[in-house]
Assembly symmetry: D2
Homo-oligomer: 337 residues x 4
């Protein structure tokens, strides 16, 4: 069988993970080209034996041998690179979000569709073993008809304010993962959003026009209700849990912890904290995600996370933002137009 030839645009924090996985763990893949503006990224690619290491994206886009492009470059290049690759007839895996503008995202999806290539969006959490298990239980009907979904999503600490300012806001930057998770677990679209939010962690975030703590209520088309709670700062670590309740039962999942010891002393029982960093928590998810992309390409199947998934999560995020501003529930259809 012919090997799949891929190129990667961006060898930064997440790019390195994808590149190492592709180069070392998928015998059916050849990483021919790696593009990065920084020498450190290029050096990393060379150490993995990538044939063509460059700072010029055109070397990748114009190479007819390349079947698929992995876009891990900065967010503001996602739309451009994805469209360029699609127009060149290449399949694309793109880290989320495609863009912060809904119009641009729609444009990208139109280009992708016209090109007839496949596009997968990097919602990596869908590929976490815990969340996959919850989805599997829902899909298999073990939970029955889902009635209530609860997602806890708290970061160990807020990002720098400089990042907050260009991030699109907490709902678009952080909660967007939870919106995707909500749709993934329940298997139904979100119809309406009501959000309350505030700046309770860091006043500078508020001054930058953003929030850092939120409760978002979701109503799904199938009648289920959901709630997401977010905080930018959990002193005990990265808190990522899901619970789904239905007519036949309830399934939930705890965090992954540093170890599973218990210490029983005169003062109580102590245990280890949850992992503190998203790359520790989701390291296996990144691998599983890339495997899903490669497998879908090999088998000619639909991508497990589509462009539509990208656009729907964005729309929910924009609805949440509007709900906070206008202090009322907002229909997602208001946003999608």
């Amino acid at each position: 069988m012919k090997k799949l030839t891929v190129g990667i645009a961006g060898v930064g924090r997440i790019g390195k993970i994808h590149l190492e996985n592709l180069a070392r763990k998928f015998s059916q893949v050849t990483v021919k080209t790696a593009v990065d503006a920084m020498e450190a990224g290029r050096e990393y690619a060379r150490s993995l034996g990538v044939e063509n290491v460059t700072d010029n994206i055109d070397d990748l886009i114009n190479d007819p041998e390349i079947d698929a492009v992995i876009v891990c470059s900065p967010t503001d290049t996602h739309a451009e690179y994805t469209m360029a690759a699609a127009r060149a007839g290449k399949h694309v895996f793109c880290e989320k979000p495609l863009d912060l503008s809904l119009d641009t995202v729609k444009e990208v999806l139109a280009v992708v569709e016209e090109a007839g290539v496949k596009l997968m969006i990097g919602f990596n959490r869908r590929f976490d073993g815990n969340f996959m298990k919850i989805r599997e239980l829902v899909e298999a009907g073990k939970v029955g008809e889902p009635h209530i979904l609860k997602i806890t999503s708290r970061d160990p600490g807020p990002p720098p304010v400089s990042y907050v300012k260009v991030s699109g806001g907490m709902f678009m930057d952080m909660t967007i993962h939870d919106f995707d998770m909500a749709r993934f677990i329940v298997g139904s679209e979100v119809k309406e959003v009501y959000a309350t939010a505030g700046c309770m962690v860091d006043p500078e975030i508020g001054e930058a026009g953003d929030v850092d703590t939120a409760l978002v209520t979701l109503t799904f088309e199938n009648g289920a209700m959901g709630v997401i709670d977010n905080s930018r700062k959990a002193v005990y670590g990265y808190d990522q849990r899901v619970e789904v309740f239905g007519t036949e039962g309830m399934a939930n999942t705890d965090n992954n912890h540093y170890d599973n010891h218990r210490f029983y002393g005169a003062g109580g029982i102590n245990a280890a904290l949850p992992l503190n960093f998203f790359m520790d928590r989701y390291i296996d998810a990144y691998y599983n995600e890339m495997e899903a992309f490669v497998t879908a390409l090999e088998k000619g199947e639909d991508m497990p996370v589509s462009g539509k998934d990208g656009i729907m999560s964005m729309a929910i995020g924009l609805a949440a933002k509007k709900s906070v501003e206008e202090k009322r529930p907002v229909a997602v259809s208001e946003i999608l137009g």
Copy 2:
């Protein structure tokens, strides 16, 4: 020290628990009189050596030796008995709710205040060891400033529709416990309520004009946010959990289970379900609650659950109802007037 002399009005399901506790476990209390319309209740009181067993409430109200009255009779007698006892100069412990009408409750509280007696409302869950521990952690500052409160409250099965019709609706009958819990844990008043709800368990409940599944978002005066999720039917039992998240940490509590075994077989690990019945789950809470009432009387201290606690939870319930009807957040002040 002089013993406390009490009388009990109503020896039904919960009255029996209070009567047995008072008669057997508080050496400083004499239960002089028990009133019940049914012979079964009176027989139970006699078996505990109650001196005066009767079906006439006046025997209790008019007895000058009785210091305090425990009102466990049907809900529609709560206001009348509480006022009568207060006017007769007796302290009152009254099962929740004082009444389904906010105006009547206000009237009862006015009578109690004028009489200068003490009134405690039977929000028993505040005295559950798990929830007391969570409150203790919040009060001691371990959690820091509370930001997010989450209450899960699901019944093992819906009540009969005949009961639903006279119950005042799910928010007033079931969620009212959670509203009280929310105020108790966070230690701040609820300012605003947004509720989504539906009839997902039993269509007859919907036909009776009530809901059986809900997500209620609370905004507290101190800025914290809270969410309560309710279902009238959890197939796995009575699900009562609380989580509070703040600047210094997070505290949560699981259910109480039938036992704590684990079975590891080829097909997975199995454990016992949560207790299925509120009287099993809260049996110790009922004792602790009565102890708190007796202790407050002995020491002349304020009641741990006051008439105001009764009125505030009702107001939140009415706000939740209005929020569902009008599909918008409702300020509790709108209800309280």
Copy 3:
């Protein structure tokens, strides 16, 4: 149906529990007589409405109306009272141990057998919900053929040395419960014992000729192996766990804790300790045990814990003691003769 008329000998710490249960919770039982040498015990019995409260055991033994006797008096009266009651044609529930001498125990059992009455030994832990569940899983074949049994049994603190001196030693006083548990869970007799033990908690215990820490290996007749670990002092509370491993799986049980909260702070996760006191841990077991006794009498069934159970656990204890002294495995048959 005729009520069961019982008398109780000894209204001390455990006698009070049994008396309260019998007087309040078994409508089919009348406690006619209570005997105690101390006024406190007698006062307690009076408060429960016992008709005949006395310090004279003969008032109980010679009363032809009494069907059964509950022996909770000091250990050195167990054999005498049990034999007297049996000879008077009364069934007996006797707290463990029947006696510290194997010969005396054999004599008691002979008297009981000749009298044709029933005798139950108070191995209360068999009636703890957790351990009953483990036994149930073994009995139902879920665990398959049992191969390995592990019992953890650690006290929160050592008894006074004065008590140690008259207790018969740790194996006879403390581990005897675990020997009974081992036989109960596995459902097979212990064939051989190897024990290592030392005085590691309190040197005075060693000076009194006893040990306070031990590991006891058991070999069962059905081929299973078991290990009991004991300590007289666990700073974190009363530690009582069982694990059984077999061809089809493994079942284990954790302790009961003060509450089930978890606190997640910057320094780790904290939880509540196990209950610290055997009467808290086993309060339900005492009730279940008495219910089993009463039910067996009512139905004319065999006692769930027989005189043989008493003698076998003693023999294992004596074998363990000999094993430590002689540093070799000892067959239980060596002890039983």
Copy 4:
């Protein structure tokens, strides 16, 4: 700083893990040479860019540029390769056991000592995060003086009988890891061993002269007692737990599971099984182990697992075997001579 140049002998199941770790994750290490008798192993080495890939061990031993050798070849070559490497002045990391003969092991250690090189034995479990945490708690004095150690070690299934026959027996092949763990956790030497064992899983194992189920009691020089329970077949997966109890508390560790979901249905609560395979469970341990080896070489420090560790675990294993044969406790000094 000069890079460390290493060679690896054996690129089989465990060799691949070490090779990948060394080649990809340690920038301070160059893997110059890989030796394997099989083309598959050599192909794997080539794919990682190893310069010199060969089937001739002498290419490795005789290369003066190689600082250290990783021995992952079949057990019967361990002693020979380790001695050859040592004589050539190279440090050695050798998978356990060095040999099945105590005399040979002694000879190897003498050669290593004379050569003045460092030797580390691959007891990988010491580098598992859970067990490291337990050791850390003991070392930091949190547990106080250790009194009781409990190790559960059960395999998901027995090896082929052909392997059993050449393995040296369960104590030397499987329990040897637990003997090392016992010494590691308690931090004291084992003085005496008493073992009971049987063939309960597979009669063919018994026919091959081996056991498959065992309880081993250890007495440590510091007075602590320990027990190891082994089974060759746990239907629920690979069961690897440790508990240590001391004067100040107790620390234990659970298994690692496939995921951490809980499903609550009408029939009970279900959870995922422990990982079923040692390479899944210990994948991080293999990395940590190699890091410890590399770090010790770089810093010129003592190896964290020494040749003495290899010999002591063997001696305990031989004592356990003798204890079963002679049905008595056996001093380790009897074996060491």
